[in-house]
Symmetry: C2
Subunit: 231 residues, 2 copies
């Protein structure tokens, strides 16, 4: 690999959802040589992992799936079967919040980035049409940037990876329009917090609601497969 | 559990080494209700895990061992069998550095702290007699403190756990003297980067050297068991 290509290598956190698929496409469009990183954290919606595989293959990005089982920590509707996924809007941070998830994911990406000399990490966090998770906010990302500059050997050498958040200030409709322009195939993605084994969405959770409204506002046909098409 | 006890609950990262055993004793002496957290990250020195179990039992702290296999990331003499542990002093950050390890460990501790409403996290990092790892430095810890205040639901509610580093500015001899005063049984601890299956130390790696010099300087009998007592 040439030095020029090396200087634009990125680790892209890929979940199988709509946002991270778009972040991958945007990172590629920005000229990054992207390696997708998917964390199998024992999430309820395992269909996400297959979606991540499909998206990575479609975008031509090598994918690593790392197994880090956050059900050992629990504390979320996504990692604890005893906690229900809310199906009506809630106030505050919802039960689908996974304690410290983005900090854990970014920490793992930082480790991977160091082993392959990546110069950036892309994460598809969004602070507009989102579920209100604290670790999606711009001030959180800024704090992680400051940490990344100090945390690793690369940081000491002045080569800490940039933490890139291309979606952070976009609406869901803007994300979808941008992704559609870049050829993202959203039929491959799964956003639902309680998708079934074949990746069909519930149509009722917060994530389904944001996704459906986003396609409608973007004027892009919604390819989502629902468990109950009438629902 | 009473509100008073709850307000002093800490997650203590316990590795089985000398430093974290002392940090646990110091957290208990400071009045914290401590829960020990050991990460089984696939480290070369598995004897560490048994040491952590012994130390936690001896100190009366409930222990959770979480399995997060960092050999999936590699990049270190401690997680990649193909990389040798240095046995002579090196300049710069040594091969035993594990990419982003303390960031990953603190992130996991942050998740656990949130699920049990802990008000502190103790980590036995030390920036005096240490191997030069970037994520043991005071400025790194400060950056993680800033992150922790923003990363979680508890942080949003103004209840982010304090990140406590009671050893950070102590010499190894001071750590050992303090631990000995608090009744830490250092014969249970394993510091060696390449201990054998029964926990006997190599006597040659950086960690062995710092430990041996620490006991000598502290004037405390060194209970370390060596693979080759003449070595």
């Amino acid at each position: 690999m040439s030095a020029a290509a090396e200087s634009r290598r990125s680790i892209v956190l890929l979940s199988g959802g709509l946002d991270s698929a778009t972040a991958l496409a945007m990172a590629q469009a920005a000229g990054y040589d992207c390696r997708a990183l998917c964390i199998d954290y024992g999430q309820r919606h395992a269909a996400e992992l297959r979606a991540a595989e499909q998206v990575a293959r479609h975008r031509g990005a090598p994918l690593s799936i790392l197994k880090f089982d956050l059900t050992q920590i629990g504390g979320s509707a996504l990692t604890d079967p005893a906690v229900a996924v809310p199906e009506t809007p809630t106030t505050g941070i919802p039960a689908t919040y996974v304690p410290a998830r983005n900090t854990i994911f970014l920490a793992l990406a930082l480790g991977v980035a160091e082993t392959v000399d990546a110069t950036a990490i892309h994460i598809g966090v969004n602070a507009v049409d989102y579920s209100g998770y604290p670790d999606c906010r711009p001030q959180y990302i800024e704090a992680f940037r400051a940490l990344a500059a100090l945390a690793t050997r690369a940081g000491v050498d002045g080569r800490a990876p940039r933490i890139e958040t291309p979606l952070i200030s976009l609406s869901k409709a803007e994300i979808i329009r941008r992704g559609a322009q870049l050829g993202v195939d959203y039929s491959m993605t799964v956003s639902c917090y309680q998708a079934d084994a074949s990746g069909r969405a519930c149509g009722r959770c917060d994530s389904c609601r944001l996704r459906r409204e986003g396609f409608a506002a973007a004027g892009v046909p919604d390819p989502t497969r629902y468990q109950n098409p009438a629902g």
